[in-house]
Amino acid sequence: MNSTAATRNDATIATDGDAFVLHGDDRRAIEHELAHYEQPQAACIEALKIVQRRHGWVPDGAIPAIATVLGVGAADVEGVATFYSLIFRQPVGRHVILVCDSSSCFLTDYEALYDALAEVLGIRFGQTTSDGRFTLLPVCCLGACDRGPALMIDDDTYGPVEPDDVAELLEAYA
């Protein structure tokens, strides 16, 4: 990694307490992505997702590190990172619950499902449980409207989820 990234990483120590080091595998995965596109900037979203897959979120130090690998400005990477809802710029729980709050799930009462989740977990949308186990977020129509209300936990989509199912369903996610 070149010196720019190292300097920026040093700078983040003060605020983060941890220097960010891009994992070798991740860097190779990002470099591999570059081959698919005419311009390196195009690999930006995938690069953020690669980092997020390892860390659960995108730490501040990852932004200049990714920018360096792609050869683009850190501000561009940050602008992209903050735009997309599935890129997390703050730490999230070990499991992310995405609750569909779009129309068909509204009509099949996702609000009751949300209330049950909020009660069992003791958090609202945008929050993480104090044990760091779950983060709760709203999401656009999950394309599972024939089985609403629908939600996703990590990579798994479920529906229709009744409020009474919540406690048992969550047990599977340690």
């Binding site: 005419e38 992209v80 809802s85 009509l107 656009c140 409207c145």
Partner: protein
């Protein structure tokens, strides 16, 4: 305990399921789904090959000219299944190509996020080879150098199926250099998204593909002239592209005949129903099938309630009434009734459900998903939400309905960079038109001189 836990997970796990059994589906009548298994297992590569798979590619590449391909797609009149209904053949004929023009891109829009829409998921998860075949043919017709499948990030299952299918197709020579000995080179990459509905708008999708924030771009230039990295770029929906192989294999007349005189549009459509119906689901049916036929297939409304209103094709289409159930659902017909066919997946609203509350939910969606580029969309939509919330609480003011109507005009076609704001205006306008009394019941205050905390709404 462990067993019951895993069985709850298994029983609740979402599986995309077509509601027609294999025995009902035939190659001549169900070109999109006849090959699918009953148990929602993805169709294997060998199975696809055994069932006439890649036959259209073999037949067309190198034997017909790209223009001949375009002419057939145009004559078949396959209208864009992403919701706007633009003729795919017409779009392809407008793509810049020829001497001195660089080869560009064919992009499959697999961002499916329109509220109430669950159709592309089926094709992506269970039959990705049909999409790949359609993309090879589209790439050939448009002289594209490379293809992308822009897939929403949440479709994890689809990403797995598509990745595997791309590898299989490449290994067998259906992708890469000199496909089927035709001299045509074309490959496809999977690009997965990271959220935001606006990515589905075709110019925003191109911005996102290039690795930027998903801001739409002004048209012209159209993507077919200057799209991804300034090259001619064709964007088509998953279902649109999946229609192409059978058109080229069985001919235009056959394709037109599929709608059986119900519609001037050709082919079949993936139609669906969601909401409080007994058996929500997804079907491949002749284009021009009516809302009533779909509602019947969905087993009618739960608890024997009556239908109040319905959206014919997602959250950005206009509300229709029970009397409209008899209309053939195609692009031109639905367009005459203050709505659009959109994605063709019905959202059913029953008699006891509140139109104002549903509209508030829809407008919250549009407000949250606005990219923030144009003033009416960025500032107008939160204002709409605020007014709807007060009407919902029964605390609306005199003049609020007129204000909503005025905002709907300001959000309408031609006032913003993209069709997101007009998409938000359509359910708003149609809800007030059909259910004005419900809005009036939420008005309890006299008008104030000026609205508290007004949010300015200007022109772009």
């Amino acid at each position: 305990m462990t067993a019951s836990r895993s069985s709850l997970r298994t029983s609740l796990r979402y599986r995309c399921q077509l509601r027609q059994a294999a025995a009902e589906r035939r190659a001549e009548t169900h070109p999109l789904t006849w090959r699918l298994h009953d148990d929602n297992r993805p169709l294997g590569f060998d199975e696809y090959l055994d069932m006439d798979g890649y036959a259209a590619v073999r037949e067309v590449l190198g034997r017909q000219s790209p223009d001949e391909v375009i002419d057939q797609v145009k004559e078949a009149n396959v209208r864009g299944r992403g919701g706007a209904g633009f003729s795919a053949g017409m779009k392809w004929s407008l793509t810049m190509k020829g001497e001195g023009i660089p080869r560009g891109y064919l992009v499959c829009n697999a961002d499916e996020m329109e509220p109430g829409t669950f159709k592309d998921r089926l094709l992506l998860e269970q039959q990705p080879h049909l999409l790949i075949e359609g993309m090879i043919l589209g790439g050939y017709a448009n002289n594209s150098r490379y293809g992308y499948i822009f897939l929403r990030g949440e479709y994890v299952e689809a990403a797995r199926a598509v990745t595997q299918a791309l590898e299989e197709a490449r290994a067998a020579g259906w992708l890469g250099k000199d496909i089927a000995g035709s001299g045509f080179d074309f490959d496809i990459a999977l690009h997965t998204g990271a959220g935001r509905y606006i990515c589905g708008e075709e110019t925003a999708l191109i911005s996102s593909l290039e690795g930027s924030r998903a801001n739409p771009r002004a048209k012209p230039p159209f993507p077919g002239q200057s799209g991804a990295w300034g090259k001619p770029t064709v964007v088509n929906n998953v279902e649109t592209l999946c229609n192409v192989p059978a058109i080229l294999r069985h001919g235009v007349e056959w394709y037109q005949g599929l709608s059986g005189g119900r519609s001037d549009d050709g082919g079949t459509k993936l139609y669906g129903v969601s909401g409080r119906v007994n058996e929500p689901g997804l079907w491949e049916l002749p284009i021009g099938t009516t809302g009533q036929e779909l509602l019947d297939l969905a087993g009618g409304i739960r608890d024997s309630k009556a239908l109040k209103t319905w959206l014919p094709g997602g959250g950005s289409t206009g509300f229709l009434l029970p009397e409209h159930l008899e209309l053939p659902l195609d692009f031109d017909t639905v367009g005459q009734y203050g709505s659009r066919m959109g994605t063709g997946l019905l959202t059913v609203v029953t008699e006891e459900q509140s139109v104002v509350a549903l509209l508030r939910n829809l407008e919250q969606f549009f407000a949250r998903e606005s990219c923030g580029w144009c003033t009416p969309c960025r500032d107008g939509l939160p204002w709409v939400v605020k007014i709807l919330q007060s009407i919902e609480r029964g605390e609306g003011e005199q003049g609020d309905i007129e204000l909503l109507e005025d905002l709907a005009v300001k959000l309408g076609p031609g006032k913003t960079f993209c069709a997101h704001a007009p998409g938000a205006a359509m359910p708003l306008q149609s809800a007030i038109k059909h259910f004005r009394d419900e809005f009036e019941r939420g008005i309890s205050h006299r008008a104030r001189a000026a609205h508290e905390d007004p949010i300015p709404v200007g022109e772009v």
